[in-house]
C-alpha cells in the first residue's frame, strides 16, 4: 500500500539540473511510467524516489510520511535495475532470498517465500544456478523475483526490459502488466520506449530536460499532447509539426504556410466582434501538428502539377486538399506504408494502409479533418486551445499534476 508523492524535487549536478522542480502524485496501485528521451532525468528521479540519491530540493512522501531523509531500506520500496544487478556470487535462490535475509527473516520463512516467488516466475528449476549461467530473460526474472519476495509497497523499475530481444520484451511486458494487476501494488516504471509506456501505463509522465512536460493517461498524452515536445516524442512516426500562421478567412480560422492551408474548424468573430478591425489571433506564429495517420491522401499523381481533380471517389469523404507537396521516399512496413513528403520547407510523414499506390517523386495532395489538428505556440511549444475569443497558451500550471 503506497501512495508516493513527489513535491517539487530538483536534483543538481554541478550547475546543471538533472531533475528540475518535478511534482507527481502517484496513487496507490497505479502504474506510472516515466517517459522521456535519453538523459532527461528519468533515472535520477527514480533513484531519488528510491532513496539512492538525495534531492537537492523538494520532498518525497510515501503514504503521507516524509521519507526525504530516510535511507533506502526504510522506504518499503523494491527496485529492478536495468542491468538487473544480481549478486554474481550467489545462487538464484540466495539472490531472491537476499532482501529477506538482510531483514533477518527466519530461515524457514525465507525458503518458503523463495519457493513461492520462484513458482510465480517459473524459476523453480534454476534455483541452484549462478547468475552467469542464466540467459538474459532468466536474469530479468530473477531480478523481478528479488523485488517480489519482500512484498513491498511499491515497485520501482529502471528500463527493466531494455536488455531483452524484441520478442522477449513483448512477452515480459505482458507478464509485468499481469503482475501489476494481480498484486495491485504501485509501480513506477522508467522507459524511453513509448510502446511500453502506451501499453503498460495507467498514467504516463513525460519528462524533458528534467522538467515534467505532461502527465496523463496514455490516451490523453497521445490525443492531446500538452506541448510540441510531447507531440513529437510520441507516435512512430511522431506527429508532423509545421510552422504556420493563423489567418481568418470567411469567419474561419486557417493555419497557413507555403503549400499549406488548413481550416481549423474554429468559427471566429461573430459579426461586430472583431476589435481593432481584425481578430487578435490573426498572424500569430504557431506550429500546426497533424499525426501521420490523420493525413488523408486525396490524390497522388505522377508527372507535374497536382490537381484537385477527383480521380477517385474517396475525395468526397476526405474533403478538399489542404497540403500539397511531393513524395520523397516511401517506406513499406508490411501492413501499411509511410510516405515522406516534402511540403514547403518541412518534411511531412503520411501513414496509409497498403497498397496506397504512393510512389517516390509523385506529387501528393493531403487533407486533414479539423478535429485532428493540434496547435502549439511557436515560442513556448505549449498547446493552444480555443477559448471564447482568442487562442490562449495553456499555462504550465494548468497541466494537471494530480489526479
Amino acid at each position: 500500500m503506497s501512495r508516493i508523492t513527489v513535491e517539487n524535487v530538483t536534483r543538481r549536478y554541478g550547475g546543471a539540473k538533472a531533475v528540475d522542480g518535478v511534482s507527481l502524485d502517484i496513487a496507490d496501485g497505479e502504474f506510472l511510467v516515466l517517459l522521456g528521451p535519453s538523459g532527461c532525468g528519468k533515472s535520477t528521479l527514480l533513484r531519488a524516489i528510491a532513496g539512492l540519491l538525495a534531492p537537492s530540493e523538494g520532498r518525497i512522501l510515501v503514504d503521507g510520511r516524509d521519507v526525504t531523509d530516510i535511507p533506502a531500506r526504510g522506504r518499503d520500496l523494491a527496485m529492478v535495475f536495468q542491468s538487473y544487478a544480481l549478486y554474481p556470487h550467489l545462487t538464484v535462490a540466495r539472490n531472491i532470498g537476499f532482501p529477506l535475509r538482510a531483514r533477518r527473516v527466519r530461515r524457514a520463512d525465507v525458503r518458503r517465500r523463495v519457493a513461492e516467488v520462484a513458482e510465480i516466475l517459473d524459476l523453480s528449476a534454476l534455483l541452484d544456478r549462478r547468475p552467469r549461467e542464466l540467459s538474459g530473460g532468466q536474469r530479468q526474472r530473477v531480478a523481478l523475483g528479488r523485488a517480489l519476495v519482500r512484498d513491498p509497497g511499491a515497485f520501482l523499475m529502471d528500463e527493466p526490459l531494455s536488455n531483452l530481444d524484441a520478442q522477449l520484451r513483448t512477452a515480459t511486458r505482458t507478464e509485468i502488466t499481469e503482475l501489476h494487476r494481480r498484486l495491485g501494488r504501485t509501480f513506477i516504471y522508467v522507459t524511453h520506449d513509448q510502446v511500453e509506456a502506451m501499453t503498460m501505463a495507467t498514467r504516463v509522465a513525460v519528462l524533458n530536460r528534467g522538467r515534467l512536460e505532461q502527465i496523463g493517461s496514455p490516451t490523453e498524452v497521445y490525443d492531446q499532447p500538452a506541448s510540441a515536445f510531447v507531440a513529437a516524442f510520441l507516435g512512430s512516426p511522431p506527429m508532423n509539426l509545421l510552422d504556420a500562421e493563423l489567418v481568418t478567412r470567411d469567419g474561419q480560422l486557417h493555419a497557413v504556410a507555403p503549400q499549406v492551408d488548413v481550416p481549423l474548424g474554429i468559427r471566429v468573430a461573430a459579426a461586430g466582434a472583431p476589435r481593432d478591425g481584425g481578430d487578435p489571433a490573426a498572424g500569430r506564429a504557431i506550429q500546426l501538428g497533424i499525426r501521420p495517420e490523420h493525413l488523408l491522401v486525396t490524390s497522388a499523381t505522377g508527372g507535374t502539377g497536382s490537381t484537385d481533380s477527383t480521380d477517385s471517389g474517396s475525395a468526397h469523404e476526405t474533403g478538399p486538399a489542404v497540403l500539397r507537396g511531393t513524395i520523397r521516399t516511401v517506406e513499406n512496413l508490411g501492413s501499411e506504408e509511410i510516405a515522406h513528403c516534402v511540403i514547403g520547407a518541412t518534411e511531412v510523414r503520411v501513414r496509409a494502409r497498403r497498397p496506397a499506390g504512393l510512389t517516390a517523386g509523385d506529387a501528393i495532395a493531403l487533407s486533414a479533418r479539423p478535429e485532428h489538428t493540434h496547435l502549439f505556440d511557436r515560442d513556448s511549444g505549449r498547446r493552444l486551445v480555443w477559448q471564447s475569443d482568442q487562442p490562449v497558451s495553456v499555462p504550465p500550471a494548468r497541466v494537471p499534476v494530480t489526479t
Binding site: A50, G51, A78, M79, H89, P99, R103, R146
Partner: protein
Amino acid sequence: MALAIEGPTAEQAVLEPVAAIAAADGDDIPGGRSRVMTVVGHVTLALLGLACVFPIYWMYATSLRRPDDVYKTSVLPWPLSVGSYRDALDELDLARLLLNTTMVAALTALGQLLTSILAAYAFAVWNFPLKRLLYLAFVGTWLVPFQVTMLPNYVLLHQLGLLNTLTGVIVPNLVSALGVLLLRQHFDSFPKELLEAARIDGRSSWSTLWTVVVPNLRAALSALAILLFVNAWNEYFWPAMVLQRDNSVLQLGINSFLNSTEVEAWGPLTAAAGLACLPIFALYLALQRQVINGFVRSGLR
C-alpha cells in the same frame, strides 16, 4: 498441373563452406600474429622463466650436496646428502623460527588486508570532505622511504617497551598504503548498481561490504593477501632492528650462518633458506588460481 515450389531447391540452398576453410588454412594464427613471432615470443618467455628459476634451483642443489662438495659447480648435485639440513636444524631451532615468522607474516598481512579493505571501501564508496587530499596523503606515505620512519618508530617502540617482541615487529606495519592503492582500483570498478541493490534490499553499508563486495572480490583479495604475506615474510631489516638480541624470525636465523662462523656455512644456509621458501611455495600452489585471476583480470564476471 502440379504445385511447384518457388525459389531455390534444397541442393542449391546449401551454403558452400569452402571459403571459411580457406580462410582458416592461412599462415596466420587468429589474433593476427605470425608463427615466427609466436615462436620468438615463447622462446623469450622460456628464457626469462629459466633465468628466474635458476637461482632457486641452485639454492636447493647446493643444499643437497655433501658438506664437502658445497663449492662444486656440477649442475646435478651428486651424490645427494641431507647433511646440510641436519646442520641447519642442529644450529637453529627451526620449528620455533618457522612458527614465529609465520605468525608475524600472517598477522601483518591480515592486519594490512583488513585496514586496506576498510580504507579502500571508504575511499571508493563514500563521499566526504577532503577525500582527495586524504587519499593523496595516504598514498604519499607509500613514497616515504623506510629509512625516514625507521628511527621514530624505533624510539616509539622503545618507549612502549615493545623492543624485542613480535608485537613490536607487527604493530607498526598494520597499514599498507600499497594495499589501499591496489584495492581502491578494484572497489572503484565494482558495479555501483550492485551496491545500490544491496542498499534497497536492506543492507547497511557495513554489511554490504562483507556480504556483497568482499565475496565478489575474493580473487583480488587473495592476490593482495599473498603479496602482503610474502612481503612480510621476506622482511629482514625491520625485524633485525626490533629483535636485535634475539634471532627469533627465520630471516635473521638464516643470516646468522653468514655472521656467526668464520667460515661461511653455505650448506646449512641454503638448506635453511630452502626450508624458508617452502611455505611460500605451498601458499602459491594452494591459491594459484586466485593469484592469476586477481592479477590478470579484475576478477568479476
